[in-house]
């Protein structure tokens, strides 16, 4: 990492003075570390997207189809007619600039085209040129410009430099949502085959095997059994991890990172222990083995294609309702898109916790609840025996993941859980949490190593707030409920705020949970010795 990126004290020297040249002259330099590589042709072909070919963003010739301009402009027209959001957001921005320093990529890079307003103007300028009378007549004077290859390259660079986190949309007086603009921008780029591998490969894998990494059913089963074995070793409790079990009450869908990546894995152990203790009759599905949905980062159609398996598996397995694990963008899809795209879920029942009897009426249409909602309810009803001192080796802060915060409003449930399972919990500064939370800088498919410098820049605002609570309150663990956070915040924090680890909320639940018939717990779920044991050993 150190050889690729400059030192933190160099990277933080950010020049916010805009360049002299007019922003309407397109100019993009594909500098190593600041962009993502193109999608491999096999992945583009597998999902049936247009123009699969070998190419890279730094190539001069992008091998576009001969009539690429017509394709893009037709695509724009189509989407202007289909999405009120898109048409409206092309028309009503007043360029007040309130969004400018709300974007983590702008704050971290100083590149004015990372201001949400200009990111949108990249496409608005083309909209004006081809779809408004003033733009056609007056050109640049009306803020209009031709769609050239250089403009397209700029779109690629900046629409893959937006994590669709929606923070700017919180501050915009008209609610203009750059995530919406970026999503449409990426759809247009996809029409001429300009996509990135970090998005398309997981999407293709997910389409084929059911999950991002391409884990096949037997591999899925192995992973779950391995986890159950690990858990038995740590806690002395043998928890079941049922797969494809017909007639179970609940289908449990998690992001696949939970069973193949670290520190996600410890969250999985936490889930298994919790659901065992709660006695929930549930099942995983080896086909719906991914809740994450990289369709969100390529096209609306792809969202629907990848999401369909959730309801279809719920129907096939005959469950009553669906439970979802810790994942950010997965929950944007489950909350804001799934029911509309693949519903109605009239074959399911309104979720009811068999332990507390609580009816989750707020999910009466989708029939799917977040595990934090499920757990918070258990804790509130005193159904769990918790020993928060088992997390005493952690001083915890909570990072709101963008999508659960700004596309759902899941703010208090995880906090309630954390306060119940940890003794030391501190909030980061006010303007950096809840709906104003700052992105990890690697969401929306940008969490790849070749893009490291830009990720470190984009993650700087988040990390700066973490560093603040590290120094002020001694925070050494950041809890979150997003798989991309768990994957990308560890290297980010190691760079900007060393000494702070990353964990899922349910890892901490698993640590604190006192399970019936458990053996004496000497380590946490990571296998690290517990604090009181350590101290007891020293005193003895």
């Amino acid at each position: 990492m150190s050889e690729q990126a400059p030192k933190p004290e160099e990277l933080v020297q950010i020049d916010y003075t805009p360049p002299r040249r007019n922003w309407m002259d397109p100019a993009v330099e594909f500098r190593k570390g600041t962009f993502c590589y193109s999608a491999a042709p096999k992945n583009v072909s597998y999902v049936g997207m247009p123009n699969p070919r070998e190419w890279q963003p730094f190539d001069k010739d992008w091998k576009l189809p001969a009539d690429w301009q017509r394709i893009i402009l037709d695509g724009m027209k189509d989407r202007l007619d289909k999405y009120r959001s898109f048409r409206l957001f092309m028309d009503i921005c007043v360029r007040c600039g309130a969004c400018a320093d709300k974007c983590h990529f702008y704050i971290g890079s100083g590149d004015p085209k990372n201001m949400p307003v200009l990111r949108a103007e990249l496409i608005r300028s083309v909209y004006r040129r081809y779809f408004t009378a003033a733009g056609r007549l007056l050109g640049p004077l009306a803020g209009a410009r031709d769609l050239t290859v250089d403009v397209l390259k700029e779109w690629f660079y900046y629409f893959y430099q937006c994590t669709e986190c929606r923070r700017c949309s919180v501050f915009c007086p008209y609610g203009i949502d750059t995530a919406e603009v970026t999503m449409i921008g990426r759809e247009l780029l996809n029409l001429v085959g300009c996509n990135i591998n970090w998005v398309l490969e997981p999407a293709a894998n997910c389409y084929r095997t059911g999950n991002h990494l391409g884990v096949q059913p037997h591999g899925f089963k192995d992973s779950m059994e391995f986890a159950a074995g690990d858990l038995a070793e740590i806690t002395g409790v043998r928890a079941n991890a049922p797969i494809n079990k017909k007639g179970a009450e609940v289908l449990f869908v998690v992001p696949s990172a939970d069973y193949f990546a670290s520190p996600h894995y410890y969250t999985l152990l936490g889930y298994l222990l919790l659901l065992h203790e709660a006695g929930l009759d549930y099942t995983f599905s080896a086909f719906a083995s991914e809740g994450g949905n990289f369709g969100l980062f390529s096209s609306h159609e792809m969202i629907k294609r990848l999401n369909a398996k959730v309801y279809s598996e719920a129907r096939r397995l005959g469950v009553k309702w669906i439970l979802g694990g810790e994942c950010g963008h997965m929950w944007r899809v489950l909350h804001q898109y799934m029911d509309t795209m693949n519903g109605p879920a009239d074959f399911l029942e309104v979720p009811v916790s068999p332990v507390t009897g609580t009816r989750f009426d707020h999910a009466r249409s989708t029939k799917m609840i977040h595990i934090c909602e499920f757990t918070a309810d258990l804790i509130k009803h005193n159904k769990l025996k918790l020993d928060p001192s088992r997390n005493d080796h952690w001083t915890v802060t909570y990072h709101d993941s963008c999508n659960p915060a700004r596309a759902m409003g899941l703010l208090e449930e995880p906090r309630y859980i954390l306060r119940s399972v940890c003794n030391r919990f501190y909030e980061m500064p006010e303007n950096t949490i809840r709906e104003q939370t700052l992105c990890c800088g690697s969401g929306a498919g940008l969490g790849t190593d070749e893009n490291l410098e830009m990720r470190l820049r984009g993650g700087f605002p988040r990390a700066s707030a973490v560093r603040y609570v590290r120094d002020k309150c001694g925070v050494n663990l950041l809890a979150c409920i997003c798989a991309i956070d768990k994957a990308t915040l560890p290297p980010l924090l190691e760079y900007w705020a060393p000494g702070v680890g990353v964990a899922g909320v349910h890892e901490l639940v698993g640590n604190a949970l006192v399970v019936r018939d458990e053996g004496e717990r000497t380590t946490d779920l990571r296998g690290e010795p517990l604090k009181q044991k350590e101290e007891a050993a020293t005193h003895a």
């Binding site: 933080v12 916010y16 805009p18 922003w23 999405y83 009120r84 048409r87 409206l88 028309d91 009503i92 921005c93 007043v94 360029r95 007040c96 600039g97 309130a98 400018a100 320093d101 004015p112 201001m115 200009l118 103007e121 009378a133 004077l141 009306a142 919180v170 501050f171 007086p173 008209y174 609610g175 095997t209 059911g210 059913p217 089963k221 494809n244 017909k246 086909f287 159609e301 629907k304 294609r305 279809s312 096939r316 804001q336 029911d339 509309t340 519903g343 989750f360 707020h362 989708t366 909602e373 918070a376 309810d377 596309a407 759902m408 899941l410 500064p429 303007n431 709906e435 700087f460 605002p461």
Partner: protein, 330 residues
């Protein structure tokens, strides 16, 4: 650089208005035909734009949630910033439209000496915008006394309230001062803040200069040249009752005012000023976050290619058998 283009355009328009008021033969086209044309363009253009927006459907329910969701009964939800009912949405929209709720959140991010990023409260843009819009609204409503006969009590009350300080003769309106100060601030900010200057287009300056032109012309003729109010009321009443009379005794400054207002009206539907109507339609603000409670219908939802469970089981059959996973099709 667009600043000068825009300023020149507004000065040219003002000069044209002055000419219209100075040459007898031009009084009819400038005093009667132009205002009618402008208001026609305004109304038709506004309707056309709003209908165009409304014709594009809202395929997904995508509110930006800015507070706690409605979930468990014992967790207090935020009914205004994250509404889950229609009433809540109305409240959110009212806060947004009347008080600029989102802009009120504005912060300013800065990297300090210790390389720490701080986000501090920044209310000036909100204050400037609010001052401008509200004073504009009050001035607009005050002007109704030219167009209505008899003048409704509420308009007169507003007129008295606005002149509450009783300074000078004719009495100085508070809103006249506020709107000029607010416009000056907004213009100053656009020019002085390098970031905002960088993103500004010609139309951004044009809007400010045009509004300022309207206000300045109005202020000058009220306080300086002391225009003949009765004559103007006669013209205004003539226009609204479709029995227009050519204004003979209104000075050229009035024609400047009238022309700039006409320009504003005619340009409005084709400009960013359409945010006035657009803010009501913004799907991130005007929808309830009741996504999991009530299914949202996408009118163009279409079938997509899928990889079905059957195909999946078929592809991985042998491996599933070896792993002891149940099969649907033995």
């Amino acid at each position: 650089m667009y600043i000068w283009h825009s300023l020149a355009a507004v000065i040219a328009l003002a000069a044209l208005g002055y000419l219209g008021g100075s040459v007898g033969a031009l009084r009819t086209p400038f005093g009667i035909i132009l205002p009618y044309a402008a208001i026609t363009v305004f109304l038709a253009g506004l309707a056309w734009r709003v209908i165009r927006w409304a014709r594009s459907p809202v395929p997904f329910r995508i509110p930006t949630t800015c507070g706690q969701q409605r979930s468990l009964a014992w967790i207090r939800c935020n009914r205004l910033d994250n509404p889950h009912t229609t009433l809540g949405v109305l409240g959110r929209m009212a806060l947004e439209i009347l008080l600029f709720r989102s802009l009120f959140r504005n912060t300013s991010a800065e990297i300090g000496a210790d390389q720490r990023l701080t986000h501090s409260e920044q209310k000036f843009l909100w204050l400037g915008a609010l001052a401008f819009h509200w004073s504009f609204l009050v001035i607009f409503l005050r002007h109704l006394r030219f167009f209505l006969d008899p003048v409704p009590g509420c308009v007169m009350a507003l007129h008295r309230l606005d002149g509450f300080f009783q300074i000078g003769a004719p009495v100085l309106y508070a809103t006249d001062v506020v709107i000029l100060v607010a416009l000056a601030y907004l213009l100053w900010r656009r020019i002085k803040d390098a970031r905002v200057r960088y993103i500004s287009l010609a139309s951004d300056y044009f809007a400010l200069f045009l509004l300022a032109g309207v206000a300045v012309a109005g202020v000058l003729m009220r306080y300086l040249t002391k225009v003949d109010i009765l004559e103007i009321k006669r013209l205004a009443m003539g226009l609204v009752t479709f029995t227009p009379v050519v204004p003979d005794r209104a000075g050229p400054l009035f024609f400047v005012h009238l022309l700039l207002v006409s320009a504003l009206l005619a340009w409005f539907p084709f400009s960013k000023l359409m945010h006035m109507a657009g803010v009501f339609l913004s799907p991130t603000r005007n929808l309830a976050n009741n996504n999991r409670m009530k299914r949202h219908i996408n009118p163009w939802n279409y079938p997509v290619p899928l990889h079905t469970y059957e195909e999946w089981e078929h592809e991985f059959r042998d491996k599933m058998v070896a792993a002891g996973l149940p099969l649907d099709k033995e």
